[in-house]
């Protein structure tokens, strides 16, 4: 008997808002059976150690890009290959440690990259062509032929290794017709098959292909619960180039009970020659709920093991080394299984052949409840209950609030949203906050008179928002000169695109100082800047938070010292921008960015702005590098390396302009001086390094074996 064991959770999921997909694109085996690479549906790839249930590393593509197929691991070269925006990316790294990313711009859109363990990655293009990755690397822009017909689109694809041959299997759809391509690699040849029509309008929900006994077995599941198997020979292939679609013979393997209606998100997967794992199909004896993972024995037509999965089933299923990976609800679970060979199955081969005829397929429903088995009433009520549950009070009020936002005045909206936020639980907040913000922003955009700053600020403060959820928010705030909201967005959004960052920067630099001082900003960051600017004065007094009784003499003395300092280094003490402006710019400095994307936008800054910004950065740098700079804990503040990175970026973007500008000369000379001093320091450190290395060698020599003869001298 096959058995499903106690499962465990690999990771949580972030399903999209209407729960239509699980948030996972694919799971691929990594270097061994214990490691898998999980690609989510947006931007990140994570490597998990299955036995530890623990991520070992993660990798994200840039903001604005999107992974369009599961990343695969090339075990020959220890590379990860992924596809972003239908273009190829190769990530050369040793298990997420070293990174060197290689972009490969190819001339046609990529559908998927396939890779078998120990094999070479194969790139499958959306138009059906197949290339080995190596050949693409050699000539990325090579012309890619079109294999598929005009309105034909790939639905599913996989790779199969048969003996030493690699086969790519593609299923396509064209005007309701389904086709199957069996593509052999090296030498390349392709054979096209037509799948037999099921009831009109039904297209297969899932495919699964396995190789056994010199044949490829294709298993596919239709929404009416029929699981068909087609057997393809790998031998007699490639004689005629298959433009002509051969009909593909099929046999009904299982007729699964579907209850009322048709299956929506379900999939079937062959575990071995006699067992099929099915998910999203109701358990025949447990009523109509479809959230079950079942193992069916195809030889005996029996259900061997079943397990109810909590939460929504997405119809996704993977299986590696006797474990089923199944996303459900908000988790990705791993369920170990076992399919021992049924001895009866091996004895009774006739049983296998007999059961192929469709009308002899018994199903549990038929056996248990007679021919016209209806889903039991309990299941019916259960379903209504769950729907009612999902429409709980919060959901209703979300809709109401949304309606309200579309029409009501600012004050009322503010009150309602506040109330809603205090009522709602954090988990439920995520989707609704996004919706609220979206409607608010769209109304503000449509109606220039309407703008509710405090409500938006409140929504941003929940930290449930991000830029991708509500892409117009930051620009709207900039337009409305709501700098406080800008600051909040910069602080809380992890994914602000570089273009928007740059727009903010430009806006901030160009605010007149007088206007900037009127803006109310986050007090902590203002406090930090205040401290930084006025620190020289405070320095003498502040020690352990204790300021000595400031006698007049003392005070005068410090003043005098101050004046002296000012005289000796006037540039060091004056902040080139106003306090609030500095606070806003600090926020920019702390936002994450990628320099390749930022550089082109930085070039748009005018030379005055660049000068001012550079002066400010220099001011910050000097302040930071003064030896006794107190670590201000609790304050959000740009780090020294962030400041230096921005200086470098600015210089890179505007070097020629700055060199030509006479006012910039002093500044550049100053910066040059820092660099020179840094170079000197590094070279000195380099000298020390040699001696330190010698020291380490001496240490290493100390380790002695079990026995040695030494000479010591005593004095």
């Amino acid at each position: 008997m096959a058995a499903l064991y106690e499962g465990y959770t690999l990771c949580g999921l972030v399903p999209d808002q209407n729960l239509s997909s699980s948030g996972i694109q694919g799971i691929e085996e990594e270097r061994d059976r214990d490691h898998v690479v999980v690609t989510d549906s947006t931007r990140s790839v994570t490597l998990y150690k299955v036995s530890d249930q623990k991520p070992l590393g993660s990798w994200t593509v840039k903001q604005g890009q999107k992974l369009t197929c599961p990343a695969v691991f090339n075990s020959q070269t220890n590379e990860y290959v992924a596809v972003t925006d239908n273009k190829c990316v190769i990530d050369r790294r040793e298990h997420f440690c070293l990174f060197r990313v290689l972009f490969l711009q190819v001339s046609s859109d990529v559908w998927k990259v396939h890779c078998t363990h120990g094999g070479e990655p194969v790139v499958l293009f959306q138009r059906g062509a197949v290339r080995l990755l190596d050949s693409l690397l050699a000539a990325p822009q090579q012309p890619i032929e079109e294999v598929l017909a005009q309105e034909e689109a790939i639905r599913w694809s996989t790779i199969i290794v048969a003996e030493t041959q690699q086969f790519i299997i593609i299923t396509t759809e064209q005007k309701g017709e389904h086709f199957l391509y069996l593509q052999r690699l090296n030498p390349n040849s392709v054979q096209r098959y037509r799948l037999e029509r099921e009831e009109p309008g039904l297209s297969p929900l899932s495919f699964s292909a396995t190789y056994r006994d010199k044949h490829i077995c294709l298993l596919y599941l239709y929404p009416n619960g029929h699981v068909y198997q087609s057997v393809l020979s790998v031998r007699g292939l490639g004689t005629e180039e298959g433009v002509q679609a051969l009909p593909l013979p099929r046999s009904l393997l299982l007729g699964l009970p579907v209850g009322d209606g048709q299956l929506e998100a379900a999939s079937a997967m062959a575990l071995d020659e006699a067992h099929v794992a099915v998910v999203g199909v109701p358990h025949p004896s447990a009523g109509g709920g479809k959230d079950f993972l079942c193992i069916w024995n195809t030889n005996f037509q029996t259900l061997q093991a079943g397990k109810e999965m909590a939460g929504k089933i997405y119809g996704q299923l993977w299986s590696y080394s006797n474990k089923v990976f199944i996303p459900h609800g908000k988790t990705l679970s791993i369920i170990p299984f076992e399919c021992p060979k049924s001895s009866l199955a091996s004895l009774n081969q006739t049983c296998y052949t007999l059961s192929k005829t469709p009308n002899s397929v018994p199903s549990w429903n038929n056996i248990l409840h007679g021919e016209k088995a209806q889903p039991s009433k309990s299941a019916e009520t259960r379903r209504t209950r769950t729907t009612r549950k999902s429409q709980s009070t919060t959901n209703l009020t979300t809709d109401q609030v949304l309606e309200l936002i579309k029409t009501a005045p600012v004050e009322e909206i503010q009150k309602e949203v506040e109330g809603f936020l205090t009522r709602a639980e954090f988990q439920d907040l995520q989707p609704s906050v996004g919706q609220l913000a979206l409607t608010l922003v769209s109304r503000s955009l449509a109606d220039p008179a309407f703008y509710s700053s405090s409500t938006l600020a409140q929504l941003v403060h929940t930290r449930c928002l991000c830029h991708s959820v509500c892409p117009d928010l930051v620009l709207l705030a900039l337009e409305k000169k709501d700098y406080f909201l800008c600051q909040l967005c910069l602080q809380f959004f992890p994914d602000i695109p570089e273009a928007v960052t740059c727009a903010c920067l430009k806006a901030f630099i160009s605010i007149p100082d007088v206007d900037a001082e009127k803006v109310s900003l986050e007090p902590d960051s203002v406090k930090f800047m205040e401290n930084l600017i006025t620190r020289d004065r405070a320095e003498a007094g502040l020690q352990n938070g204790f300021s000595p009784t400031s006698s007049v003499v003392n005070d005068r003395q410090t003043r005098a010292e101050d004046v002296k300092k000012k005289a000796s280094a006037p540039s060091q003490l004056s902040c080139p921008v106003g306090l609030h402006k500095a606070v806003l710019i600090n926020e920019i400095l702390q936002t994450p960015y990628s320099d390749t994307f930022l550089l082109p936008h930085l070039k748009d800054l005018s030379s005055q702005h660049v000068m001012l910004f550079l002066q400010y950065l220099q001011f910050l740098y000097l302040k930071y590098s003064q030896d006794a700079f107190p670590q201000m804990e609790g304050f959000r503040s740009p780090s020294l390396s962030q400041i230096m990175d921005w200086v470098c970026l600015l210089l890179d973007a505007h070097f020629t302009v700055l060199v030509m500008t006479p006012e910039a000369k002093g500044l550049l000379l100053n910066l040059h001086r820092f660099v020179k001093s840094q170079v000197r320091l590094v070279s000195e450190l380099g000298k020390i390094e040699g001696s330190l290395q010698e020291l380490r060698k001496m240490k290493a020599k100390e380790s002695i074996g079990q026995y040695s003869i030494e000479i010591i001298e005593l004095f």
Binding site: G705, Q706, I709, E710, I712, L714, F715
Partner: protein, 679 residues
Amino acid sequence: MGEFKVHRVRFFDYMPSAIRTMAFNSQTERLAVARADGAVEIFNFNDNFFQEKVIPGQDGRATEALCWVGHRLFSAGLNGEITEYDLENLRPQYTVDAYGGPIWTISSNSQGTQLAVGCEDGTVKIFAILEERIQFQRNLNRHKGRIISLCWHPSSAQIAAGMTDMIKIFDAETGHATRRLLVDRAMGASKNKEVVVWSVGYLSDHTIISGDSAGKVQIWNGLTGTLVRTYLVTKWDVLSLVINASQDESSVIAGTSEGTVIQFQFISSTVDQHDKEWVRTRTFRNHSHDVSALAHTDTAVVSGGMDTQLVVRPLLDKVEKNTQESALRKIAFPHRSLVGCAKKAGLLLFQFPDRLELWKLGESEGHVCLMYPYFVCRFLQGEDHICCSALSACGGWLAYSTVSSVRLYRIQYNNTISINKVSKLPKELRSVHQLCFSSDSSKLFASSCQSSVIVVAVSQQECRYLHTLKHKTGEWKARMHLLCASDDGKWLATANTDCEIHIYNLHKMKLHCMVPVYNSCPTTIAIHPVTNNLISVHADQQIFEFSLVQKEYTQWSRRLQAQGLLSLWLERDTPITHITFNPKNPDHIILHDTYMFCIIDQSLPFPELNAVLWNQMTLKSLPVSQRIGQSHAFKICKSFQHLMCVSLLEDLSLVVVERPLLDIMSQLPAPVRQKKFAT
């Protein structure tokens, strides 16, 4: 001083056994420590933590619990027997089977009249402590499940017993269980994993404190049977728990599987409050593995466990700060020499609990090794463990002893090595504490249990009993733990744990004299080959030189006492375990402890009290002409660490046997998993 060729030996893979349990006797200030191999060690806390007695272990004697009753020491173990030890002759005096399966715990009442043991079959058995033995009295009411821990109420009227999932309070008179305290199972972990109450304490105000396998220390009210407070101190087990019962019962320490020791104190939580409660106060982290044994002295927390080290951690509010008293002390190595060295033959004898290993040292010319050391033979001992061993200087004789028997071997090195066991030993050689050969290998001295020394002549043909040396007849009982014969064969010095040193004249076979008794136990003694002066080093690190001929302390010794030793010397925390002399230069005395060896040059002046004791580096940097002015009598070399033996061979090369602590650590089993940083 000159150069020395050093044989640096690291192949003595001595592995101390894990500390299983310990008991502290606050009257005598003695700590008894039981190790996993069954050995019991007695440390004298009054005498610089000197390990004065070692009772060798035995295969299968898994001691689980120790208990002092006055001066008597009882142990019980998983073999189901209760053992009383003969602390003078260092062997079990008698054993009594409790007939209750393995015994997990033993505890005596405060009057010292009754002994309670907790057995596997769920019974608490009460034994009466009689003059010379113990006698079974009765069982308390039997319950299902084993009794893991026991504690008597100070009034002796109740006994608290820790079991699985519960603590029971028994009335000691009637034997009925009066209260049942249910202990919660671990949070989070599976609920069906039962929790074991590893340790329980009973205070005079009827407070019960328990430590269990769910990582909790719980404080109960024993009168009402209610839980007062729970402290979750570890994710693993709380293995041991002990109250400072000799004082005001205001402090409890608990040892965990993570290697931490946690102190709880009965204090008022805020300054102005008067009602006191149990508060978790300190955490000591001195172990890498399970802390399975704890003792609470008046001033210190003593802990030991899987990592084999005994740690004495003074409580800084009880001792004066920045003194030797307040220093943390780790005792990792035995305070006696486990290595024998045949100086003439270049042989090393390593003593393990269950075997002896004989090695031949290599030969070399300068740094070049001409011959590597090789393994000569191994002597496997059976059930009883070895308590002492000796190798004659010529390497031809080897003797070792267990608690019950002595073995003597003749080893001949012709082209091949032949080893013959001397089968007929005189019947006087039976139970022996210390063995020593005379320098010409013609005699074997053995300190026997009747506080006497047996002299046996050994020769090719036979082994013949010669004489029994006794200095006094009658009541005196302390055993000799050190023996030392002079090179000329005339003298024999013996030292015992009562700090007495006796000198015998071997020509006349009678007591010559007794060295004035010093109040600290001698850790090693040696007779100078040329001057026949006796050098003795004591547990408090003092050095004396006693002239055997004049029967008085020598001038050098008097000068040393007058000037005093440097505090740096006195504050070392491991005793000197071996002394040798330089045959070429009679002024040199070579002695070592675990962390250094020192050559004392008697011709040089003592260091001034403000001088640097360890001045080798300064001397090295000085030109030769100025060295004389700067150098002093103590030449200390610290380049070798964790020394088991330092000896000078006849060819003037030093043998240094090291056992790096790191090697011992690496052989320990893996500690419990702990989350450290981002792992």
